[in-house]
């Protein structure tokens, strides 16, 4: 039983990370109809920002905030400089650009900071934090930090004029222009926010998976699975989907372990977690493409 709760808790902690990256993907998707394949690598790059600042002697939380702000700027710059000229480009060109960005961020990080795996600290005190036997201090901290970030984002989009303008620009760009919203800047701002949320996920997960230029590759897949499960057009759904995928992958592995223990037959275990994510992606895309909470969008052609 204790093991079961442990698995749920660590699933939630992983899910929190996936939820953040899923939200970053969805934020860009709803305003541009594109999936930013470089989202994970951008988050990895942000994590290196934080690592570098700490290496220079900054306090964890100072480095955290600074890296998130830097990532925001990085997102805005990427949109304005690289994607802006491609606003009317065909989908395939943009996909290629995203893949190019992925490779550029990956190799730039490798050449600046090397491909050697680095340890990344946790800011959460080992004692007196977490619930013994169920959830560790870092896992609990991850869930709390991401909940705060997601909550702030929700408040921003729901209650501020700028958040409203961003939603309007995503939903109906032409009409948004006709009420005076500077749609191009809203897009750039969306990229900045997505990049910042990704940075939070990267910095939080780095303590668990260790820091290296490829650390986000698997996480991006899980996040994509989460976004699809929740509904790629629904930010709230994507967040929930992230948590669902996090818990589900642990449950599948846990069930596999229990079966192995009981019968001695190995069917599925920790090694197959990523496979589970991919199966989820394929399953959702074939059975319910709009996701659990997404809307079916009918396009007139």
């Amino acid at each position: 039983m204790e093991q079961f709760l442990q698995q749920i808790a660590s699933g939630l902690a992983n899910g929190a990370i996936y939820a953040c990256v899923a939200l970053a993907l969805v934020m860009i998707y709803v305003s541009t109809d594109h999936i930013n394949f470089a989202q994970g690598e951008m988050a990895m790059f942000s994590t290196y920002f934080a690592w570098q600042l700490m290496d220079w002697g900054a306090n964890y939380w100072v480095a955290f905030v600074a890296a998130v702000l830097l990532s925001f700027v990085m997102g805005v710059v990427v949109e304005r400089v690289i994607l802006r000229p491609l606003h009317n480009a065909p989908v395939l060109s943009i996909v290629v650009v995203f893949i190019g960005l992925l490779a550029i961020f990956n190799s730039t990080a490798g050449s600046i900071w090397s491909y050697l795996i680095k340890e990344f600290p946790s800011p959460f005190p080992k004692s007196s934090f977490g619930i013994a036997g169920v959830i560790g201090p870092h896992q609990l901290g991850v869930v709390m930090v991401t909940m705060v970030v997601l909550g702030l984002l929700f408040l921003f989009f729901r209650y501020t004029p700028l958040g409203l303008a961003m939603r309007a620009a995503a939903q109906n760009p032409q009409m948004a222009r006709l009420v005076g919203v500077r749609v191009d800047w809203m897009l750039a701002l969306g990229w900045g926010l997505a990049s910042a949320v990704g940075a939070v996920a990267g910095i939080m997960v780095a303590h668990i998976v260790y820091l290296d230029p490829n650390m986000m590759a698997g996480i991006l897949l899980y996040a994509f699975a989460g976004a699809l499960v929740g509904g790629i057009s629904n930010p709230g759904g994507a967040v929930l989907g992230g948590f669902i995928v996090g818990v589900l992958e642990n449950m599948v592995a846990f069930a596999g372990n229990q079966i192995e223990k009981a019968t001695g037959v190995y069917i599925i275990g920790n090694g197959e977690k990523l496979t589970v994510a991919l199966i989820i992606v394929i399953f959702v895309l074939t059975v319910k493409p709009a996701g659990l909470f997404g809307r079916v969008v009918v396009k007139r052609v």
């Binding site: 004029p161 109906n172 009409m175 009420v179 919203v181």
Partner: protein, 237 residues
Amino acid sequence: MTALLEVKGLKAFYGQTQALYDIGFEIASGGITTLLGANGAGKTTTLRAICNMLRTEGTIRFDGQDIVGKATEEIVRLRIAHVPEGRGTFTTLTVEENLRIAAYTRRDKAAVRADLERVFVYFPRLKERLQQQAGTLSGGEQQMLAIARAVMLKPRLMLFDEPSFGLAPLIVVEIFRIMRRINEEEKVSMLLVEQNAALALDLADTAYVLETGRVVMSGPASVVKNDENIRKSYLGY
């Protein structure tokens, strides 16, 4: 009265295709001008050209200022409100958010609140539906929302693109009555594009008739309305 909007030699292009050849007209300050003509005459395109939603050449002067080539969102900030074809509802936002977003460019918060209240006087039905998703409104209600949203911009000029489109006759009459009220009470000039020429000529003071991207005739609405030749050859009724 001086002209608030002055259009001269306006050309407009959809990609390589030229849609407007030589459009010229004026809107008097406080007046209502209507553009009439058959399908494809260039009425909607003219409205879109004013807001720079396609490539344009020529002169468009708003309050003495040349606005050709300015970005759409900057033209809107001069307080030109466009009520577009198809109503342009933000379907996933609530009715209230649709109205609030229209006041996004305004900094006079107290006046915005007062305007919101006044909009509810024009359209009491919107007040009942404030928290509803705008996409679930009926066609007539969405048209009301589109006009209400334009009022929230505190416009000096309102552009209407087929406000009667797809609506039941009774609703159309109600909407046109409210448009006249808005014209008088908000002291806002209007440019109206309408298929229903009889209705438009009742509301407007000046009319221009368009044919294949050119102005072919113009005059006071009352004259155009009573000229049988114009009616038969251009307006089809």
